[in-house]
Every structure is written in C-alpha cells, then in structure tokens.
C-alpha cells in the first residue's frame, strides 16, 4: 500500500527497492520532499530507488539539481536508481542534460523492478 511519508510524498517498498512518486510538478518544494524520502529509504536499508514520474508533467531547474543530488546520494550508498514512466518531454530534457548517463529509464514500475532484478545487489559495508 502506498503511504505518504515525509510530507505528501507517496512511497512504498518492493523487497529492497523503494518506489517514490514524484508528483505532478518537480520543483523546489516537492523536490526537497522527494530527496528527504529517498534519504530516509536509503538509511532504512533500501538498495534501490525507483522514482515514478507517472504524474509528473514538468521538472524545473531546481528539480534537476535535486535529482542530481539524489543520484549522488544513491551512488555514494551503493544503491541503484531507476526513473520510471517519464513523459517524452522530460525524457528529452534528461537526455539533453545528461541525467540519463547516471540513471536507467524504465517504461513503468514493473519494468523498473525487472531491470533491478537483473543486477545482483551486494550489501555495502560502511
């Protein structure tokens, strides 16, 4: 079941992956909430993050910056990150800015989970 946590961000866990819903407009306010939720999930032991953009119509500059921060944090934690259900316009933006070099894009949540299952996740010892 989806649960709002850390404000109004919906998220749920599938195994060791956390699915976080980005909402309709990824700006400073919503971006910071998503970032907090991602950090919370990683601290809680998640090994992969799926950010679901199915409702997302627009991502602004701050949203891009925050997404890069999330990618950074995930990389440092040894966690994988997948963006799912990104609309065409946003895909173009991510490609143009080079975000797609650091994340996998998936058609939907199922494909994202399938993608993650192909990789053997090994616990990171800090």
């Amino acid at each position: 079941m989806d649960t709002p946590s850390g404000g109004q961000v919906r998220s749920h866990c599938v195994g060791t992956a956390a699915v976080i819903y980005a909402g309709d407009y990824l700006n400073k306010l919503s971006g910071e909430k998503i970032e907090r939720e991602c950090r919370r999930q990683l601290i809680g032991g998640c090994r992969a993050l799926i950010i679901d953009f199915s409702d997302t119509k627009l991502v602004n500059s701050i949203g891009i910056s925050i997404l890069l921060g999330i990618i950074d944090v995930a990389e440092k934690s040894g966690a994988r990150i997948v963006f799912s259900e990104v609309n065409n316009q946003t895909v173009q933006l991510f490609e143009m800015l080079g975000l797609t070099r650091h994340v996998v894009l998936a058609k939907d949540e199922g494909e994202a989970l399938l993608n993650l299952s192909r990789f053997e996740t090994t616990p990171v010892v800090h």
Partner: protein, 419 residues
Amino acid sequence: MEPSTQKLIHTFGALADLGQEIAGTGDFTEMVRTSMHLLLGTLALRRGAVVECSGPGPLRCVAIWGLDDQSLNGFQIDEAEMECFLGGEITESLVRNTATRNVFVNRQRERLVNEGIELVMPMIVRGEVTGLVLLGGKASGEDFSNDDFETIRAMVRHIGVGIHTHRLLEQLAQRAEENRKLYDDLRTIYRDTVRAFAAAIDIKDKYTQGHSERVGKYSEIIAREMGWSEEEVEGIQIAGYLHDIGKLIVDRDIINAPYYIDAKSSSELNRHPNAGYEILAPISHPYADIPLMAKHHHERLDGRGYPDGLTDQQIPIGAKIVSLADSFDAMTTDRPYRRRRSFEDVVVDLRENSGTQFDGKVVTAFARAILKEVKGETKERRVTKMLGKSYLEGEQVKTLLADLITDLEGVSQAKAQSL
C-alpha cells in the same frame, strides 16, 4: 521539440525563477541556496557552492550542494587574489587550466580538483568581490561550451547582486537600529529634562511638591483610557509635567501664600498659562501641541476660564485632560489653606462641574480608569499610589465611581440624541 529550443526554454525558465528569487525578501541563506540550485539545475552540474567574502580573509560558505559540508572550510582569499579578480581580465577560470593567471585557482588547484570543482567564477558587484561561485562538472560529462559560460556569467551576476543587496539592506537595518537607539536616548534625555523641570517648578511651591509629576501621570492614565496611541500618551504626560512651567515667572510669595490671595495677586498668578506657552513654544518638542496644552489648562467649557475664555470645542482635548488632572490633584492634596477633600466630595465636584468646567467624556474616562484599578483589574495601582492606600478603600468608592460613569454616560447620550 528541438533540443536547442528545449534548452533555451529550460534556461529562460531558470533565469525567470532566479530573478524572482533575488528580488524576494525572504531568508538570505535560502535565497542563495535556491539560486545555486537554479544554476546547477540549468546546466545539470553535479556539485557547487556559493562562498562570500568581504575583503581579503576567510571565505564563508553560504550554500553548498553535492559536496561535504566541511569541504570548503579554511578557504581563504588574499589581497593579491582579490586584485586579480578585480583587474577585470579574469572572469571564470577552469580549474584544470594550468595556464590560467588566476592566482586563487593556481594556489588552490589541488584542493579544488580533489573536491570535484571544475570552474571558479567571482561575483563582482560595483567594484567589490562579494564572493565566488565554485562549480563541478556537467552531468553529461561534456566540457563547458561558450553558451554555458554565458549562462553561468548571467546567473552568477544575479546571485552577486542578490548578495550585495542583502548586505546593503543589512547595513541599512544596522543604521536604522543605531538611529532608533539614538532617538530613544534623546527621548530619555528629553523626558529626564522635562521631569527635572517639573521638579524645579514644584520646588518653587512648597505646598504642591510633586504636583506636576502627578498631573503628568493622571493625564497619561486618562489619555490611555481614552484609547490614545502610545506616542500621544507620552505627549500628554509631558504636557502634564510642564503645564505649570509659567509659574517660574510668578513671584514665589504669591505661589506660597498660606491664604486665599487677593485680586491683584490672583491676576499675577493667572499669567502663568500664557507665560508657560511663551516658554514652551520656541522648543521643538517631539510631541504635538504641548505649548497649547499648557496655555489652555485653565480654560472651562462654559467659557469662564482663562487666559482666552475659550469654550468647549475651542479647547484642545489635551488641555481638557490636563485641566481635569490638575484640578483632581488640587482637590486630593493638602493645601496651605485647607485639607484635601474626601473622595466622595471630589466625585460630587466632578459630577457638578462636568459640562461646565470639565469635559464629561474626560471625567468618564478618568472614573473608568480609577474604577478598574480599585476593582483590581489593572496590573499597577498607580492612582492608589499617588493618593495613598486608604483614600480609595471600601465598596463605597466603587459605587461612587460606577454611579458617576452611568450618570455622565447618560448625559453624553442625551446630548448626542439632541444634536
């Protein structure tokens, strides 16, 4: 959509957001942090920081992203490095470019490279280096293009202006605070001087020591009850302190006569309101109408007062308040030729003379203020303190005041209906 068009839209959107952020009046650190996010997000830069400085010395980190919070601790900028930025030849500097003449980058290169910083750009506003923007590489892994440099320059200028404006506002606020303190000091000096004058006036009259101070306090109590502003209340208190200043020119023997004075002496004494006005008028008081309140505190509503024989509407409200405070103190203190009157007697006098000598609304306000005090509804017992504890004791006092208020309000309503 063409990628170049999309990039332009993305950049313009960020510039518009940045302009709005810089022009905002919110929290400074948050403004810089948001501005930095906008810059990083425009070109998808993975890390960055905004550090500020005010002259050579340590750089203070205002916003940081993608770097450890402590990673920029201890960064300094010296005079030569500042001069190098101010020389105008160096704007942005790529950290890995060992051919750069940027002495700051040359000195800090190893540390900057270790932190993943690829570009250093100074924020220069009105010939001052307000700080530096340190940026990491692009998420795309591409080198910075000329367009990127243009975008970064434009956005860094905006952030620099934001920091500069914030500093100016801080300086203004600091000066305003200093001015406020100076003004407060001046007001204190003014009030202390006025109180010293009041004491000097009262010393001349050995039977009415403390009279001016008490009239000031009663006036303040009445004005506050009438809903005056704090500034106006302070003004009327000062007027109360100074209302008898004209007595300084009246012969001490007349003031201190232990009996009713004759017509000639009375005429001499009655000069004091005009004399007070002449003394006070040339002074630039921080409150309005103080000289007029001193001049007209012996006027009566029925026109039988002095010095000008003004009637009701012609008498300034402040003078009506000081007049009541003055008479109340005269009635409630011992004089050389009589003992003070009982409170019951004073209330009778106030009732009888409301509408002829005193303004009914002013008397009502005073009665209301005293009633609140005797009922224990006020923090301080200021009237009680001046009159002595026993003077206002007993249920009778409350009844007298409540009846006086009811009667005068009734008169006031009837008067209003007849108009």
